[in-house]
Amino acid sequence: MLDLIWLLPTFPLLGFLILALTEGKLARGPAGWIGAGSVGLSFAVAALVAVSFLQSGIESHTVPIWTWMSVAGFDPGVNLYLDGLSLVMILVITGVGFLIHVYSTGYMADDPDFSRFFCYMNLFVFAMLLLVLGDNLLLLYLGWEGVGLCSYLLIGFWYDDPYNGYAARKAFVVTRVGDTAMAIGLFLLFAQLGTLNIQEMLHAAEAEWPIGSTLPAITALLLLGGAVGKSAQLPLQTWLPDAMAGPTPISALIHAATMVTAGVYLIARTHTLFELAPDIQLLVAWVGLITLLMAGFTAMTQNDIKRILAYSTVSQIGYMFLGLGVGAWSGAIFHLMTHAFFKALLFLGAGAVILSLHHEQDIFRMGAKRKQLPVGFLCFLIGGLALTAFPYTSGYFSKDEILIAALEVEGQGLWLWLGGVIGAFFTGIYTFRLFFVVFFGESRGHHDAIEVKGLNIAVPLFILMALSLFGGWIPVPLDAVFSHGAEHEEHHISAFMHGVMIALPLIGIGISYLFYGSGTFSVEKLMSLPASRALHRFWDSGWGMDRLYDLLFVNPFLYLARVNAKDIVDAFYDMLAAISRAGHLLIVRTQTGYLRWYALSMAAGLVALIAVGVLL
């Protein structure tokens, strides 16, 4: 049964090929069936694989398919590698992916490019599966770039609007910066260890590199570069909010549940390397922490429902990075999974809201929609609670695990923990700000809109609600993968600390209620202070990072491109041509036509000749 994992990526690939080769001529029905069905089949296979994997009790299983290339000792294969980690990932990808595909058949029903949408979606699932199943870093890189491509295609899906194109390109290029760092990391790994096969490479690294030496630090740093690009962490986080230009299911699938967590997967996959470089591992934690806080601040200031969720995603992935950084490998992956559930739920819910309100995305033009949009209300309630780690929702368990692990880090642990907890506090604020503004208060527009109906929209939402609520109890088979870690030692944490962790998000919710629910505090009053207005503007712009990058990279590049569009090197050759022409014009004046001048030139030539001859 385990050998059948090659079927996993095959179904979406077939779906992609069928949809691509029919050039969009397929009717919506079949196209939707193929699009969603292929992922469904994959999920079925994944479930079967999971069952037999867990029953067999083996640690890992490799299915070689073919040798990709073999040059001078470099022989990455197209080999699929299954262990606990990839099992979790394939289940999330195919499971959540399938739900989102089904949802999309409803959400995109009226789109003229329905078939193209599913074509890209299937390609994405295919690439994502390769990413998590590849047994070597090159295959992983293939998936990595593949999902990036699909992300680009789907963000820019509605190509009419140049802004969407801009957002798509931004996403691709910014992540490519990280990808390039990662590629360089691959070069370095191969040059040093002679293989890109992940397991072999990790073993070789453990054997050859002492802990804390330079080489693992550099490679880990380069891989981290790739990870922060894909997972929208500092300093490459700027693309994700713009990526919301794509259709909402895309935001749910790619920019919340799966692709953006690829960075987390990468670090978890190569965690041995990070353990060899404790400094870099700590850096991962700090990157996560700072990102989660920055994104939390920004999320509080956004008005676009999807952008709030996007910043929240950045923030939550920050938690995962924090977890990775503090050695809570399974905690991070666990959070990855639960986050996939509740963030998909939130996005899909947001999609339902947006669709119901005729593509309205500004939360301040909604208000009091709990009656109009009961399903959406439920989505946001459950998703919001899970997101704020309300006790015993799925988010609670995973975030708990990460924060406790953070606290245990020697030295900086308390700071990391405190940051994480404060982040959770902000999570409470921005999540329920959204919740209260959209569903409570007065209706500020779209008074008569009614909720979209359809089983293909509702069923996935309800399944995701269940997962968000109870996903925390799903056991993840990660022990074998990270067996040498210390996850299952008893957690020594005081009740007070635990209490703080539980209480702060709730306080956040409370504050949010006081501002936006009950109106006890007034936002307007707060905003009347110049300082807070400036701060708001600063946070709203994502801490000015976009402007900073424009200033540092984009504008200089555009400037150079503009001034040198004609290619300065050409001027050199033009100059040669001009010199020749000038030489011609000069020398041709000697051809006067006058015989006496000609005789003179001969005489002068003779004199010059003799002068040269005699002087030499």
């Binding site: 020749s580 022409r581 030489g583 011609h584 014009l585 020398i587 041709v588 000697t590 051809q591 036509g593 015989l595 000609y598 005789a599 030139s601 001969m602 002068a604 030539g605 003779l606 010059a608 000749l609 003799i610 040269v612 001859g613 005699v614 030499l616």
Partner: protein, 490 residues
């Protein structure tokens, strides 16, 4: 009877055999002159001319493979001389056939043109064998004197559109006389130093300190020769004379007029190591360098085809001089072969190019503006293709003999380590491409609506085609020619 004797050499009847080609040309000149006196019958005169030249050429070809006969005091009819005699005769035949078209409607007597051509050829053949300054003078002046006549030939014609032919002849006459005087004065100085007028006597020139007179003497001769070869700064007459003269005369001047002098120069350089007097070698290098640069620059934006070819000939003479200089520096025969091959290729392509011009021109109308050639590719594809071949060969592009010639030159230059001159060759060729391509491009353009009627001419056309075929043949399979040249090398 008293035997013919000069400088210790007694002439025997056997010596006449290597001289047969020369005698044949002389005889045909006399025959043609008398025939004209008896009756002006143009076809007969043309036939006699071509026939005489053919006989001379065949005789020379027969004598070619034999061992080198003894040198006579004035002439050495060795295989080298015979080879070039063949070439000169062949070229002369080509020019007379090309001229047949050009003069077809001439309103004046056209027979004397052939007579002049024969006499010029006689001078050229003498030069091919010259080993003495007296024979050099005789050959050179026979050639030049006849050329004056050829250049000025249509001067009395009613159809002549302008005085260009006259102007060209006067300019050439006066400047050429000046250059002759330079050569003569130089020779006189040499004679005063060495007491010998044979080329071999040059060896006796004192080398080392106090060589002032030898240097001046050699440089005077060099200047005169540089004029004949149109090397910078003695090049200045070339475009005017080329442009003003009737096309066949230009063709003659540009081919035989050039190579005859080169043949002598090569002989002198190889056999007497004259360049060993250091400043002379430097001066030659300078001449070559400046000629390449100036010739190519002058041609750059020129619109008159004959002038372009004139300017490019300046550059080509500069290229050839590289091999001459190399011949001095290097031991082996490669540079001599290089000169020979390049000369061979050069005359083919030059005669071809002027052949095309002559074919399209007449004494009443020179077709020498490049705009006349617009769209020729589509009007006269074969002619245009041949012309393109000639131009590309001049530019040194493979599949043509010009490329092999250039390869030879490079080899000769490398052999002697003449890096600066090779650099000039590369740069010059680069500039040269520009103006050759301009002509080619003109021919590729769509033909203009008011395109003038183009002349036809079977004789000239067949000459051009034969030259084109030779060009490609020696461009693709030059081995036979290479072997021949290797055999005749000095």
């Amino acid at each position: 009877m008293t035997p013919l004797e000069y400088a210790g050499y007694t002439m025997s009847a056997g010596d006449l055999i290597p001289l047969l080609p020369l005698l044949a040309v002389t005889a045909s000149s006399i025959w043609v002159m008398m025939a004209i006196g008896v009756k002006r019958n143009y076809p007969f005169i043309l036939g006699s001319t071509v026939g005489g030249l053919l006989i001379a050429g065949l005789l020379a070809m027969n004598l070619l493979p034999g061992p080198a006969p003894d040198s006579m005091p004035l002439l050495t009819m060795d295989p080298y001389a015979q080879f070039f005699t063949v070439l000169i005769c062949a070229l002369a035949i080509g020019v007379s056939l090309v001229g047949h078209n050009y003069w077809a409607e001439f309103d004046d007597q056209r027979e004397e043109f052939l007579l002049l051509l024969l006499l010029a050829t006689l001078g050229a053949v003498v030069l091919a064998g010259a080993n003495h300054f007296a024979s050099l003078l005789l050959g050179l002046e026979t050639l030049s004197m006849s050329l004056y006549g050829m250049l000025a030939y249509p001067v009395q014609s009613e159809r002549a559109p302008n005085g260009h032919a006259l102007e060209s002849a006067v300019k050439y006459l006066i400047l050429s006389a000046v250059s002759t005087a330079m050569i003569l004065f130089g020779v006189a100085l040499v004679y005063a130093e060495t007491g010998s007028l044979s080329f071999a006597g040059l060896e006796g020139l004192p080398a080392g300190p106090g060589i002032g007179i030898s240097v001046v003497a050699l440089l005077l001769i060099s200047a005169g020769v540089a004029f004949k070869l149109s090397l910078f700064p003695f090049h200045i007459w070339t475009p005017d004379v080329y442009q003003g003269a009737p096309a066949p005369a230009t063709a003659y001047l540009a081919t035989i007029g050039k190579i005859a002098v080169f043949i002598v120069l090569l002989r002198v350089v190889v056999e007497t190591r004259t360049l060993g007097i250091a400043p002379v070698a430097v001066v030659f290098s300078l001449l070559a360098l400046l000629s390449i640069v100036a010739g190519n620059l002058l041609a750059l934006l020129q619109d008159n085809l004959k002038r372009i070819l004139a300017y490019s000939s300046i550059a080509h003479m500069g290229y050839l001089l590289i091999a001459i200089i190399a011949a001095f520096y290097a031991e082996g025969p490669i540079s001599v072969e290089a000169v020979s091959f390049y000369l061979f290729a050069y005359v083919i392509m030059t005669l071809g190019a002027f052949g095309v011009v002559s074919l399209l021109s007449s004494d009443a109308q020179e077709r020498d503006s490049i705009s006349d050639y617009q769209g020729m590719f589509w009007r006269r594809p074969w002619l245009a293709a041949a012309f393109t071949g000639m131009l590309l060969s001049l530019a040194g592009i493979p599949l043509t003999a010009g490329f092999i010639g250039k390869f030879y030159l490079v080899l000769a230059g490398v052999e002697s380590g003449l890096w600066l001159l090779l650099a000039a060759l590369v740069v010059g060729s680069g500039i040269g491409l520009y103006y050759y391509l301009r002509i080619v491009y003109r021919m590729l353009l769509p033909e203009p609506a008011d395109a003038p009627e183009l002349r036809e001419g079977n004789a000239a056309f067949s000459v051009v085609l034969v030259l084109f075929m030779l060009l490609v043949l020696f461009g693709v399979y030059p081995a036979s020619l290479m072997n021949l040249i290797q055999a005749i090398a000095l």
